[in-house]
């Protein structure tokens, strides 16, 4: 529907549902589904298809994304667009197969070697997964870079009604594609090798100019009851749904709590967080990890306000009541302090 022509995957829990769906759907749509021999091969098939100029994607879960990171770096270094889905599970190592958000750092900081970013989207519902896949393909093509959907095992295995939006394929012309020059132009080369330090430097600098534009234009976050909030919870993905319930519980008891849910993790919605926390007294970051996004929240408010953290990892999911308990604790403290 997003104009994706090929899917290259490898089985890993808890993302195999995507492969199973694509295996059924792609042949009927005249697209390509191919189960690769490894995560590494799958991401390199994506590299080839992206270089050939078609919309292409792969999906995996945490340990598989680590294997793909070589290819992702090459794809970014060759300025090729594609979509990668990470349905996060617990780590490190083989970790577990239950939902987790422990790959935030990997997605936003180190999705491969070298100086580069990928666009990172964090859906919080099945509907948003549909919408953000389309958005990810469009922006990946626009900026010629990989885009990742950072989901988790909870979202990946959830069933919710969805509306598929109107099909509008925004696939732009790709004059750079290595799809055979047909004698009509000079040869195109998809390449990430620049042996001269000066060439490599300017190539990377140009890419960072693009990132600057992205950081201006693309940050996106949902805000909920932040206007009068004393305590603002920040959370993304499945954790944000839990946090939202906790905020509602707090509001019922007269505690002024609100929620900011980043939808883009790169670019991180710094400005939105800064603005919406201006009048807040404390911030609580909730994650299904030991605390990774919390660092970006602290940077967003330039450490001018206390940013607390609450989270569970390894596949344990914080309950709304636990988050509410944390909000109450903060309320008690700031109630006394102010």
């Amino acid at each position: 529907m997003a104009g994706c022509k090929s899917f290259f995957g490898y089985p890993i829990t808890p993302q195999t549902e995507i492969s199973a769906y694509m295996a059924k759907r792609m042949p009927k749509e005249g697209g390509v589904f191919l189960q690769a021999e490894s995560e590494i091969a799958a991401v390199n098939m994506v590299l080839g298809a992206a270089a050939a100029g078609v919309r292409t994607m792969t999906s995996s879960s945490s340990p598989g994304i680590s294997l793909k990171s070589e290819g992702i770096s090459y794809i970014a270094g060759s300025d090729l667009p594609c979509v990668i889905i990470n349905v996060q599970r617990g780590g490190p190592g083989l970790g577990g197969i239950q939902p987790s958000q422990a790959d935030y750092w990997q997605a936003t900081r180190a999705l491969g070697h070298g100086d580069f970013h990928v666009l990172v989207y964090a859906p919080a519902s099945v509907q948003e997964m549909v919408d953000l896949v389309i958005e990810a393909f469009d922006r990946a093509d626009e900026y010629r870079m990989p885009a990742m959907l950072l989901a988790d095992g909870m979202l990946g295995q959830m069933m919710e009604p969805v509306t598929f939006p109107e099909v509008k394929k925004n696939v732009p012309d790709k004059p750079w594609a290595t799809n055979g020059h047909q004698g009509k132009r000079d040869h195109n080369v998809a390449n990430s090798l620049f042996l001269s330090p000066g060439d490599l430097h300017s190539k990377v600098v140009r890419r960072f100019e693009k990132y600057k534009e992205i950081e201006q234009k693309l940050p996106k976050a949902e805000t909920y009851k932040t206007e009068d909030a004393d305590i603002i919870v920040t959370a993304y993905g499945a954790a944000a749904r839990i946090a939202r319930s906790a905020v509602n519980m707090a509001r019922k008891e007269g505690i002024k709590a609100g929620l900011i849910r980043p939808v883009t993790l790169y670019p991180f919605p710094k400005e939105i967080i800064r603005k919406h926390t201006e009048n807040a007294k404390e911030i609580l970051c909730v994650e299904m990890s030991m605390g990774q996004m919390v660092e970006d929240v602290r940077l967003s408010v330039e450490c001018k306000k206390p940013v607390r953290f609450y989270g569970k990892t390894g596949g344990l999911i914080p309950e709304p009541a636990e988050v509410f308990e944390q909000i109450k604790r903060i309320e008690k403290r700031i109630g006394g302090a102010y």
Binding site: K5, S6, F8, V32, L34, A36, E37, S38, I40, A41, A42, N44, M45, V46, L47, G48, A49, A50, A51, A52, G53, V54, T56, E70, G71, Y74, S78, A177, T178, N179, G180, H181, Q182, G183, K184, H187, N188, V189, A190, N191, S192, L193
Partner: protein, 249 residues
Amino acid sequence: MTAVFDRPKSMRDVTMHYCPGCTHGIVHRLICEVIDEMGIEGNTVGVCPVGCSVMAYDYFNCDMIEAPHGRAPAVATGVKRSLPDRFVFTYQGDGDLAAIGTAETVHAAARGENITVIFINNTTYGMTGGQMAPTTLPGQVTQTSPYGRDTAVQGYPIRVCEMLATLDGVALAERVSADCFANVKKAKKAIAKAFGNQKEKRGFSIVEVLSTCPTNWGLSPVEALERLRKDCIPYYPLGIYKDVTQGGE
């Protein structure tokens, strides 16, 4: 005046970075001649490896992709599956194809991926300065087998064509050599056959070209060709290991 010998049209007019006496240049030329003769330059996408031929994208006039180390067959798969009517070839060395890229090679072959693989076997890692490769001969001295490859410690060389010939997806597995005029002619025939197989959608074709690396072998170009004949060909016999057009061998 009639020109009797010229650079193939699909070969770019640039100075190659290869060492004197290296046979990469010959194999590049053979591929370009085949592309020219088939008239498919505008319809071909090449995939280079990591290794000495990492910069081959500068030497071919067709569209080119530079793949991560060993991953060329996977990258080629992505291109071919997206654009099935394009000719797609990979150009890979022995470290790239038979060590770090073994899985990609074997599985592209097993899938019968309709691509052409040109495999340069010079029994060493050239680009990084002559380390032991999966194809390094027993007893061969390299930077990382300074006392000679000891099979008790470092294992045995891989005969790629023999191994791949067992797979149903393979249309052609042929080993040729770039050591003399007669063999170079045979090499060109094999490369033409491999590209022809793509046209006829026969499946995976690999042409292994025994090659020299005078620099890392520590030999003059002439001595290197001698060594290729004396040591390499006996260990890696030339010939067709599988050819579906001949009913296999």
